[in-house]
């Protein structure tokens, strides 16, 4: 079993973002007289970045374990964030890439795993989301990809392109719906 967790080093910029996003609007709200609409916008920013900070802290306290049976997420808050997805129940996985730069560089990836409805009842009600600043992210993606391929799961074009960018799935027609390829082997790989 492999255990993964977000180290502080990986989350430091998220904490800085959150701190800036909370402190600067609060300073403006405290030390200047503001138009009501500006005040509410700044209050919204404080709320947004406050949630972002709490979320970052929760991620830091979350443990992720991956083994031959599936993926398990153990978080704080009395098990509220605990999730478990067995490979056999994996229904959908999506690999997203986000970048705030116009040239698309310097971004990050997010892996979202969803299980069949029954499996989501194992102490969880939602998907597992992992960001690429998690050490070992590449290994997890590779493992998930191999499991998904073995179970005949199809990807959407965005996930397929992102997998290819990571050096996965380039020779697999099931994950390459947007390039010339032989007909997919089963219905699951088709757009439907």
């Amino acid at each position: 079993m492999n255990i993964y967790r977000y180290p502080v080093k990986a989350l430091i910029f998220d904490y800085i973002r959150s701190g800036l996003g909370v402190l600067v609007p609060i300073a403006l709200m405290l030390f200047t007289d503001l138009l009501p609409v500006v005040f509410y916008i700044l209050a919204g920013l404080v709320l947004l970045f406050g949630i972002y900070g709490v979320r970052t802290a929760l991620r830091q306290a979350t443990l992720l374990s991956v083994d031959g049976n599936g993926v398990r997420q153990e978080g704080p808050l009395g098990g509220l964030l605990n999730r478990e997805i067995r490979w056999a129940d994996l229904r959908d996985f999506r690999l997203r890439y986000y970048s705030t730069r116009r040239d698309g560089k310097g971004g990050w990836m997010q892996l979202v795993l969803r299980a069949t409805d029954g499996s989501e009842g194992h102490g969880s009600n939602g998907p597992i989301r992992l960001d690429s600043n998690l050490p070992g992210f590449d290994d997890i993606v590779r493992q998930v990809y191999e499991m998904a391929r073995d179970h005949g799961l199809a990807n959407d074009p965005a996930s397929a392109a992102n997998l290819t960018a990571m050096g996965l799935g380039s020779d697999d027609p099931a994950v390459q719906p947007t390039v010339s390829s032989p007909a997919p082997p089963n219905d699951a790989a088709l757009p439907s």
Binding site: Y98, T100, G104, M109, P157, N162, T178
Partner: protein
């Protein structure tokens, strides 16, 4: 997506700040200011009382202070002569040319500009989307050729010429008065049903004029993108599997083809705003364009600065919406981009 949203907001705020700094510097770049220009004229005419009044105004509005302090006071993050009284407090400054607060000078112009440009954007999307899809799906049909022809005319016709033609037709066939965004009796009146109807009637021509070239360009882009997607192997495979044309079209090709369409939201807004300034002059529209040109010419710095900041904010918000839509629609790594794994 939440992380992306938060990061994108964090990028947007400094962008707005940098734009406001650049705007302020550009306005200040020409030598002197509105008051010093006036003072030169008054010194030449020897009007002592007026010179003293201008000197008082210079001090009152902090024009004798360093540029950085003027900027901070204008933005409202530094106390000026009247404490915190800048844009963040709702005070857009003083228009020297009109001798009134900028807020009063601008009046409904910013709002009307916003309404006009937003309506134009809706027009562009509402018209170009179905036509773009139709011309791609029915490639080389009569409808495709007809729409392509109309599209080229739209791209090639200068806006001011189209404005004059449509104004003439609107007056002749529908009795809509020429110029303006409402009938004369409603100017400076509170909003009423009659005024609203009048604004809607007068907005038809400017919306078509400003939106035509954008619509034509958008149709061409959507058609090209969709045709590109429809040629791909997965579409052929899906067809062979018996998927209906409509279902197939909506599932992936259309979604993929929408990317540049969505990405254009951010570019469309500034293009329309700059295009609408010329149309506004031709059609005597009470929008921000003509007044901005006048304010820049006379170095009415707070008036020009407020307009520029408003337009920049619109553009930044447009880009923000466009980026969010694009990230939701197609979160794919682009060619040449590298993920930080």
């Amino acid at each position: 997506m939440f992380t992306y949203f938060t990061h994108r907001v964090l990028v947007m705020i400094p962008t707005l700040l940098v734009i406001s700094v650049i705007t302020f510097i550009i306005i200040q770049l020409p030598p002197g200011d509105y008051l010093s220009n006036q003072m030169a004229e008054l010194i030449a005419s020897g009007d002592r009382a007026a010179i003293e009044k201008l000197a008082f105004l210079r001090q009152e509005f902090g024009l004798d202070k360093p540029m950085l302090e003027q900027y901070a006071a204008w933005l409202g993050i530094w106390p000026g002569n009247n404490g915190f009284s800048g844009i963040l407090q709702g005070n857009l400054g003083w228009s020297f040319e009109y001798n009134l607060p900028v807020g009063e000078v601008v009046g409904d112009r910013l709002f009307l500009s916003l309404v006009l440009n937003f309506t134009t954007m809706l027009f562009v999307y509402a018209v170009s989307f179905p036509i773009g899809v139709y011309t791609a799906v029915r490639q080389y049909s009569f409808g495709d050729h007809a729409m392509t022809f109309i599209g080229y005319i739209g791209l090639a016709t200068p806006n001011f010429l189209l404005a004059l033609i449509l104004l003439f037709l609107a007056k002749k066939h529908f009795g809509v008065s020429i110029g303006g965004l409402m009938d004369e009796q409603f100017i400076d009146q509170d909003m009423s049903w009659g005024k609203f109807v009048s604004i809607c009637e007068h907005m038809v021509v400017p919306v078509i004029v400003i939106g035509t070239s954008g619509t034509a360009g958008m149709i061409r882009r959507l058609r090209a993108n969709l045709l590109d997607e429809l040629q791909k192997q997965y579409v052929t495979t899906a067809r062979a599997k018996g998927l209906t044309n409509r279902k197939l079209l909506l599932k992936y090709p259309l979604r993929m083809a929408l990317n540049p369409f969505v990405a254009d939201i951010g570019n469309l807004l500034p293009q329309m705003i700059s295009g609408s300034a010329i149309v506004a002059v031709v059609m005597s529209l009470p929008t921000s364009g003509p007044m901005l040109v006048s304010a820049l010419q006379s170095q009415d710095q707070y008036l020009a600065g407020s307009f520029l900041l408003f337009l920049a904010a619109l553009t930044v918000v447009g880009m923000f919406v466009s980026d969010l839509a694009l990230a939701a629609l197609d979160p794919r790594i682009r060619l040449g981009a590298e993920a930080s794994k």
